[in-house]
Symmetry: C2
Amino acid sequence: MSVDLNKAYPAGQIAIREVGLRDGLQLTKVWPDTAQKRAWVAQEAAAGMRYFEVGSFLPADKVPRFADVRDVIDEVAAQGAHGVALALNQRGATDALATGVDEITVVISASAAHNEANVRRTQDQSLSEMAAVAQLRADSGKSTILNAGIAMAFGCSLSGDVAEDDVMRIVDRCLEAGVDMVGLADSVGYGGPKQVARLARRMEERLNGDPWVLHLHDTRGLGLANAAAALDAGCRVFDASLAGLGGCPFAPGATGNVVTEDLVFLAETMGFDTGIDLPRLIETRALLNQALAGEALHGALAKAGTPNLQRWL
Amino acid sequence: MSVDLNKAYPAGQIAIREVGLRDGLQLTKVWPDTAQKRAWVAQEAAAGMRYFEVGSFLPADKVPRFADVRDVIDEVAAQGAHGVALALNQRGATDALATGVDEITVVISASAAHNEANVRRTQDQSLSEMAAVAQLRADSGKSTILNAGIAMAFGCSLSGDVAEDDVMRIVDRCLEAGVDMVGLADSVGYGGPKQVARLARRMEERLNGDPWVLHLHDTRGLGLANAAAALDAGCRVFDASLAGLGGCPFAPGATGNVVTEDLVFLAETMGFDTGIDLPRLIETRALLNQALAGEALHGALAKAGTPNLQRWL
């Protein structure tokens, strides 16, 4: 395998990935234009953000909010940061591989019912498609990272409890299908810290030091408690969105992804160096106020400010 | 000592204390009338809440929101729950001891600067007043619990870092002054989970199995992550307020106490039995919408609902 995960995600470093430009915009009524997206990337990169989920490779006429995904990829590259794009099938992956994007995320659900409702495929069909995408990547000769995002890994709004053994079985099958990396998503905020710690320890053991992604939503308020548990268990790659953009289709009005700035604050209080300048990161929110007029911005730290403790002086 | 802490706070049980009626109303522009306060207590008690902070014994003409503290104490007693009242000096304690309230909280700050700014006393003077209150309690012949709430125990908005050794020294001095129990308060939401875990372990060791109170604010978003760390470290008594009522005088618009219903959800996901019926607890918020028109209600679970997992079905 020509893919070096540890180059993109160095051991011993916490990687917080800004997913506001993709997951965060999935449900908003309005979205930033291309210039605003570029400014968002540039400003957040200047605050130290090194990873951006840039959009999804979908038919531009059907999903216009991601029509400019190539421009965002270019801006991320211009900032020297790492870009991640979603591709839901071979067509999307082909388009993504034609760009310089650093990583492609394909998705599957740990819940059979949700997988069928969400992408109208059985889990077996999704795994076959994933294998086909891995073949496309191999054929391309590129070292683009292939990551499988596993939705509903901590419980499913359609089918309820998801057994941890079933999650780990899907992890195995994704790796067998040829992806380099996997991510566990608490898509609806069902997880609690003990459950997250258990699965995080199993992931650390299974992946033997290689990175994996934890994608937490704060739908039910436990996002940061779960992140703390995962940090304790050794997880080092986390998705988050500025101002907690990204709601939940199953819970109108609910909060979305864990808030990037609050997650950075959490990690720093725990002694991890995120490489991110918190006050500058918070300033980036002003841009969202303009570009997303009317959308609720979440996040506690932005309202209260960083503490006057030695660490932040 | 005639005070049996383990009767009020049984070993092996998590005690979540509703402080919305006192700390939660400290800064609101409006407050519930007496009938609404009684209904709040009755409805939340029916959902399983067993502890209520009822108000503060202050001059009624100066602080009218707590003028009906005796009525709230009566309602809490009528519900068979445990009532806690604040008393800031000997006069307040004398008034409190004349009622049937189960517990009196006196306050001191772990930060010398904040203590002087907040109550215009040195820490030594506060400790002397505390000893005088303990003497009043002894003279009364009552078994009312005396608890010392230690503010700014995780950092101070005036003086910054507060050394953990200094916090533990104040704990010792409060116990020497004759209180039965102490509480640590993260008054401005400066703490992080590792710091909370360290202090919680020191408290568990110092108090040798006796209960102590953790009073967390969610000002900077880490309230529940800190609660999870404390639960792991053995803490069993937590303050919280319905809908996260209670802001922060130093951060306008910021969130207040940790949200009772979200804390209950956290504890239950971690396998602790709180004795509280979450859907019924959430219904109690409707009463706040009426009684506190215009005040922001916080809390993620109320927006998203309890998950369709076995535990909550």
